[in-house]
Structures are given as C-alpha cells and as structure tokens.
Amino acid sequence: METGRAVRYFPRLRAGLGRAPGAEVQALCVAAFKLAVDGRAFIEDIEGAAEQPELLAVLRWRFADFLGELDLILRGTAPVDDWHHAALALEYGLSEVADLDGPTLASCCGLGDIGQGGESASSILAFWDGLLASFPGQLPDPLKPSGQGELLRALRNWNKLCVATQTPADFLQSLLQEV
C-alpha cells in the first residue's frame, strides 16, 4: 500500500471521542454488521477473482463503495444513494474508517487496475487486515460454519445494548433482511 505512512484506522474510536449513545450505538452495530457480513463477502470475492481481472476491477470499485458507505455510517451523516459512495470517498477521503485522502484510498483499493498483469489484490487485503485488527472486538465470520451462531449472539447482545441505551432496535431487523 503506497500511503507513505502507517494507516490510522478508526481514529475517532481510538481517540475515545463519543457521541450521544443512541446514534452511536446504532452506528457501531450497523458498521460491525456490515464489516462482518458485507466486508467479509467482498474479501472472499476478491480472493476468488485472481483469474478474472474484469471481476477484480469492479470489486475494487465495490470495495471503495463499501468503505465510503461505512465511513458515512460511522460519521452519523444522513444516508445518500449508494451510487454516491465511491465518488464522495474519492473526493473527500475517509475520516472514520481510516484517516485517508482520496488518492491514497484509490491506491489502497487499486482503483483503475485492470488487465495490466498486476492483478494482485494485496493492497486491499492488507488494508482489510488492518481494519479487522483495529475494529473494537472480534467480528463474527458468517462465511464459516461457526460464524452463523457468532452473528446471532452478536445481534442478541446489540439488542440488549439498544434496550440499555434506549436506542430503537428496529434497525437490527432491517439488517437481517438485507442479507
């Protein structure tokens, strides 16, 4: 990854800068769910695409979309239509998932790499490893047999957390239905 410096993942969470519990609990649970379910599925797809450069080229963009959406969720902004995610992330960078400007994000994701013989996705995989290692707690892995139970246990914990913080928990049902 050509960032020129170590990437600082989840800087606000690391710094301990919180927000009002309701919005924060929802943002953290949604982000964790998306990392565990969507993020792991992207990485599985990327690892399987070594022989399909056109697939890998689009997955790079889809991963940038994913990071852009995740960043907005953790920022607590109003949602935008999904076709804005990569464009916003490229133009304005990421601030919550990692402290990255747009060109560095493009480099991390290998955006624009297609059919030049350098189809390795090592920069994305390294970025992903950093994300997983830095996110608070062990994320479930629903792509493994034991991961289904882990995900359900996490959802039960989040439901209790919502009750404790008086956060409406209906978003958890929506998450499940999106899978």
């Binding site: 695409a49 935008v80 076709w83 747009g102 060109p103 624009g112 239905q177």
Partner: protein, 360 residues
C-alpha cells in the same frame, strides 16, 4: 411507453432451447468445478426438495461465471406457503458454502404479475415500481432475476418465459442509474471535484454496459459481474453490429477513467466524452426520456443562513445551497453550469433536496 412485445428468440438471438441448453451445461460444468453435481445438491437439500416443485441453481454458477470461491445459491419454489420474513438457510460442505431460500408459488405469481405490469408501464411508473419493489413484492429484485435465470436441478429453465419483461425492467433501471451518474459526473466536474467525477463516470459506464446487456436478454443482478459479462459478450461475438461503435466508445472511456484513477495528477475532462456517449446509448436502446424535465425540487428551503447561502431540508438530510443557484434546463446544459450552481445542485442531489427525474 416501453414494450415487451416480441419473442424470447428475438431477445436472445437464438432459440429458447439452445439458450437453456447452454445455461444447463454451464451449470453442470460449474458445479463439477466446485466438486459437486446436480444430484449432490438435490441430496444436500433433500428436505426442501421433497416439497418444492423446482429447486433452481442460480447466480454465477448458472451463468458460467463461477470461480473457486463462488457460493452455490439455490432457490426453491413450493406450492406450500412460506414465512413472510425470508431468511436464507446456509450449509457448509468442505470449503463450499451453499445457501437456499424458499418462495411459494403464490409469491412468485404475485411478483411476476408485478414485473409484467411494471415492464409495460410508462417510464416514470416503471422506475417508481423499481424503487419500491422490495417493500411491495415478496420476491425481491435480486431473487426475481435469479428465479428467471435459474436452472432447475432437473435440467430446465422453468421461468425463462419471464425474461422479456425482466430484460425491459432491468434495462430501464440501469439506464436510469447511468443517467443520474452522468449528470453527477458533469456537476462534479463543473464544481471542481477532480476525483469524485471519476467515481460517477465508472458508475455511469458500468450501468450503460448493463443496460445494453439487459437489452439483449443478458440480465444479472449483481453489479460485480457487469464488466466481465460485458467483455465476454463482445468476445463471444454476441454484440450486434448496431452496438459496435457505442460499445467501443464505452470501453475506450472506461480505460481512460481507469488510467486517471491510477494517476492522481491526471484531471480528466469528461463532458466532451460522456454527454455524446450517453446520448448514443439512449438512442441505441430506443429509450425516450424527456431531457428537459431533469430536476425536481423535493426538499424545502427553510431560510437564509448567511448572505449567498440558504439552508434546505431534503429527504435524507439538509444542505447549504447557493441562494441564487440555477438549475440546468437539460442534461447537456449541466456541462456548462457555473461552478457555484453546479456545486449547489450536486449537494442538493446528495441531500435529497433535488431529485433527478426520468419521464417520457
């Protein structure tokens, strides 16, 4: 008004039998690469198979796109009622991940009727049906495509008859996303967003590809496959001569945008390429869309903020917009907006103050 009249043969450029035979062969081969077979899948889902009239192998496996990490996704269609809240059941055999979801025949018929109605509707109604589809119909958009393209474990494609309606529906949905992305790429360019414009341009190009593929009966719901399918379509000689020029222009621009992504110093001027390409795709697909009613204001101006800027509340948030910003009369006009108006419009679109409208 869109028209789904015409035979399946005309749509896919070959007989239904030949099309289905090729898909079945692809499915058998893909399952074999994954170390399994039609019979093994049936055995794995023996409980579901006992009550289902069809077990359909779907997505990448049934379209000849599967790789070593592909999941094997199955849909069951049963005569019996199924739970209203759908949850796919996961199974793991070695490294292979299987998933099955069940729909009742009634749910399928309700959704199919909705699809056929939408595909015959005026453009704006069809797009509204697409926007609200997953809250209205029991078979979501993702599974709608998978059922139609699904290969039954008995070696048939039982719902292929719905492909003409699905193709029309998918073509217009993709065209709309392409149209929105073209507009936002132009606005981003006018307001000086150097990298964001590239993200919109890639979206626009991928959806132009998908609209053309759908127009020829090649429908797939997962965006990740668009480029691979597009290039395979051309390589296989399936792209008709009438689309050759526009297909070449899409590929050229895709490569230009990709190169600009690799070089942060490069600032690509998209307007001269994107606008004529959009118009060629629109005309090639025979899509009639009113370019003069482009933007609808759906938010409300709440009041002045500071001189030059007002605060507007939108459907998904709020934004500070130029007090005297202008709205372009057409998509082509947006390429010559002043930077302040372009930025204001782009922010308003993101915040849901403005909506990009597609009507005939």
């Amino acid at each position: 008004m869109p028209n789904v009249a015409g035979s399946l043969h005309d749509l896919i450029g070959q007989s239904e039998t030949a099309f289905a035979k090729r898909r079945v062969e692809q499915t058998v081969a893909a399952l074999e690469r994954c170390g399994t077979s039609m019979a093994s899948v049936r055995s794995l889902f023996a409980d579901e198979a006992s009550e289902a009239r069809h077990l359909l192998v779907t997505s990448s496996v049934s379209q000849g796109l599967a790789n070593v990490n592909s999941d094997i996704d199955v849909i069951g269609i049963t005569d019996n009622p199924t739970p209203a809240v759908k949850m796919a059941v996961q199974k793991f055999v070695g490294r292979t991940h299987y998933e099955i979801i069940m729909f009742s025949l009634d749910e399928w018929h309700t959704s199919l009727a909705g699809l056929e109605r939408a595909a015959e509707s005026p453009l704006s109604e069809m797009l509204e049906a697409a926007r609200t589809w997953n809250k209205t119909y029991p078979v979501s958009l993702k599974y709608l495509e998978r059922v139609v393209n699904g290969v039954d474990l008995g070696g048939t494609m039982p719902y292929l008859d719905a492909l003409p309606a699905l193709s029309v529906f998918w073509k217009f949905r993709s065209f709309e996303v392409a149209r929105k992305s073209v507009l936002c790429a132009l606005l981003a360019e006018r307001t000086g967003e150097t990298r964001g414009r590239l993200g919109y341009a890639i979206n626009a190009l991928l959806d132009m590809m998908n609209a053309i593929l759908s127009h020829h009966g090649r429908v797939f719901s997962n965006r990740k496959w668009y480029l691979l399918r597009w290039r395979s379509f051309a390589r296989a000689g399936d792209c008709p001569p009438a689309f050759a020029t526009v297909a070449g222009a899409i590929d050229t621009l895709f490569d230009m945008v990709s190169a600009a992504c690799r070089d942060p110093r490069m600032c690509l001027d998209l307007g001269p390429f994107l606008v004529p390409l959009y118009q060629s795709v629109r005309d090639g697909l025979g899509i009639r869309v009113c370019e003069e009613s482009l933007i609808q204001t759906v938010g409300t101006r709440e009041g002045a903020f500071l001189p030059g800027f007002d605060y507007h509340r939108g459907g998904s948030g709020g934004a500070l917009l130029a007090a005297n910003g202008t709205v372009p009369a057409s998509l082509a006009d947006s390429a010559s907006l002043d930077p302040e108006s372009a930025g204001s419009l782009l922010r308003g679109i993101r915040a849901g103050v403005y909506r990009i409208v597609s009507t005939e």
